[in-house]
């Protein structure tokens, strides 16, 4: 899976309250959530972001609340991939569960600036900054995590598992 896109660069410790403020947590529609993404801290983001853009963060990206509304909003805006020096663990899982590729790439972050064009190979961990002829390689995601992303996220993955176990247990599954 090779993803190429324009970069939105954010800083360290971007919390999920910034990504979707608490007052919007009664929303469940991802397009509605997207319309409030980063509205308090980077208001131009939700207006100028384009499908295919890549989000690049610093340390501890997605810290704070477990709200899946945050990565759901980014996905609905068309963010194709996230890179950061490190991710908060719940946010990291949430991205994978929604089928949103994420790579922990501390080596790459300082050589990527806002609006650069970068190319990311999610399977091999190779990252190329097309705008600055910079390349590096980071550890790729574990194969079973790639499997969840390939399935389109944990919902599809769990559906497959439920159907696989259905004949034995005959419960928990609709036909």
């Amino acid at each position: 899976m090779i993803i190429e896109g324009r970069v939105w660069k954010l800083g360290d410790n971007v919390d999920t309250d910034q990504l979707v403020p608490g007052r919007y947590l009664t929303l469940t529609d991802s397009q509605e959530l997207a319309s409030h993404c980063l509205e308090d801290t980077v208001p131009r983001f939700r207006e100028e972001v384009r499908p295919g853009d890549i989000l690049v963060g610093g340390k501890n990206f997605g810290c704070g609340s477990s709200r899946e509304h945050a990565p759901a909003a980014l996905k609905a805006l068309g963010i194709s991939c996230l890179l950061a020096s490190s991710f908060a663990r719940i946010f990291f899982r949430n991205c994978i569960n929604l089928g949103l590729p994420v790579l922990i790439a501390p080596e790459a972050i300082s050589d990527i600036q806002d609006s650069d064009r970068i190319r990311v190979n999610v399977e091999t961990g190779e990252i190329e900054n097309v705008s600055r002829s910079f390349r590096c390689s980071v550890p790729p995601l574990a194969p079973f995590l790639l499997g969840i992303i390939d399935a389109g996220g944990l919902t599809a993955y769990a559906r497959n598992q439920l159907h696989a176990q259905a004949p034995e247990t005959e419960r928990g599954v609709s036909p």
Binding site: N13, T28, G172
Partner: protein, 424 residues
């Protein structure tokens, strides 16, 4: 080589002789729960998975606490959908305000309801699920889809975390409590200081803390990025569990030859009351450095500091005093049981007579949902867990975090104050 208590719980759950940090295990979930902001997304995912019934309805809990009592029409629609889901799927552990039984903020409520047992693997759709490590459980926060899958399959995958051990020794100074110790710790290691790792909190000072206080410490482990925070079971834990009717459980203790990622000794004699300044829980200062900061609001409550122990401490400072007319004090007992106990002990009377607004249990103000939000430029000191920009209202408002006694003293003085200024 031995194992840490976190490793032992995960090894037992995975039915393996041992596990090692970095290893991925798939383990059965002993309790799966969510609240009214995360559970609606989990229910949608659960249905999309094609699941009809939870793996075991008795091991599922739904706590409506964030926007309750329903703050908006949309919130009312969400709680109704969860109420219906619980009824249709046999989820008896459904909690909502005002239904003839105990209710309130999930991380205070579930232990009271006897749903937490040592050694459990607890999967909660809320980051402060780390709280339950205070009762010797492995408890971690997850997103809605993870919780949906755990609810459907009864299992969850986990990466076995490295453990950071924190040993608390020395004598607690007057007016210093668990909140100060955990803020001090987060200030030392930073908001990503325990990222992906377990925090094991131990030592004579921890042993001297009530379960309420221990819950405060484990609650905020996630503010250092921790996957879980955990305290060994001791006599205090056993007495608490007995009082809520919990029997059995697996009381894991770390082996003497286990391997820690790090061991940090903290001499609490050097710790004075702590305050986390905006906009991050690791921007921690000694109270003496921030005395006099003017305030527009004070909030005492939340899953961090809304238990009876917290309210008793706050009432000790507020007794016979009046809230400054320069600000508003809001007090929210974390659960109906805490509320009833505070009523019985005359604590609510202290708050009411001091001029505080006392509310029925809700998470409301802590996450900027409802019940006392802040206007641009306003400043609050709160006994909550996060002070991110805009957390409790307008993005140009500011949140300081403290213990209940510092919040109570500040409410009387109209500015950040030391409890001694009020009680001497």
């Amino acid at each position: 080589m031995g194992m840490t208590m976190t490793e032992k719980i995960l090894a037992q759950a995975a039915d393996q002789a041992e596990v090692r940090p970095g290893e991925i295990v798939e383990v059965p979930a002993d309790l799966v729960f969510g609240q009214d902001t995360t559970m609606p997304l989990a229910v949608i995912a659960f249905r999309q998975m094609g699941a009809e019934y939870p793996f075991d309805p008795e091991k599922v809990a739904i706590v409506c606490d964030h926007f309750v009592p329903n703050a908006t029409v949309q919130a009312a629609e969400r709680t109704r959908s969860l109420r219906e889901f619980a009824r249709e799927h046999g989820v008896a552990n459904y909690f909502e305000a005002g239904r003839g039984e105990n209710f309130g903020v999930e991380h205070a409520l579930l232990p009271e309801e006897g749903l937490i047992r040592p050694g459990m693997v607890i999967v909660g759709a809320d980051s402060h699920t780390t709280s339950y490590g205070a009762l010797g459980a492995f408890a971690s926060g997850f997103g809605s889809t993870d919780v949906a899958a755990a609810m459907a399959l009864g299992r969850v995958w986990l990466r076995v975390p490295e453990t950071m051990r924190f040993v608390y020794t020395g004598e607690l100074n007057p007016w210093v409590s668990a909140k100060d110790l955990i803020l001090y710790t987060i200030g030392k290691i930073g908001v990503a200081g325990a990222l992906y790792r377990a925090m094991e909190l131990i030592g004579p000072v921890i042993e001297s803390l009530s379960v309420d206080q221990r819950l405060t410490m484990c609650n905020m482990g996630v503010e250092a990025g921790a996957k879980n925070a955990i305290i060994p079971v001791d006599r205090e834990t056993e007495d608490y569990l007995e009082s809520v009717g919990v029997e059995g459980g697996f009381a894991a203790i770390s082996d003497s030859d286990c391997q820690y990622y790090s061991v940090t000794g903290i001499d609490v004699s050097e710790v004075e009351p702590q305050v986390a300044c905006p906009p991050s829980p690791d921007n921690v200062k000694d109270l003496s450095e921030v005395l006099g900061v003017t305030l527009d609001a004070v909030f005492i409550g939340s899953c961090t500091n809304g238990r009876i122990d917290d309210l008793r401490r706050a009432a000790r400072v507020l007794e016979g005093k009046r809230v400054s007319s320069d600000l508003r004090l809001i007090v929210i007992p974390a659960t109906q049981e805490v509320y009833a106990q505070a009523l019985h002990e005359g604590i609510l009377q202290v708050f009411v007579e001091a001029g505080a607004a006392v509310s029925t249990p809700t998470c409301g103000p802590c996450f900027g949902g409802h019940m006392g939000l802040l206007a641009p430029g306003e400043r609050v000191i709160a006994t909550t867990n996060r002070n991110f920009r805009g957390r409790m209202g307008h993005p140009a408002s500011e949140v300081y975090l403290s213990s209940p006694v510092v919040a109570a003293a500040s409410a009387v003085m109209g500015r950040i104050a030391h409890p001694e200024e009020v009680t001497r």
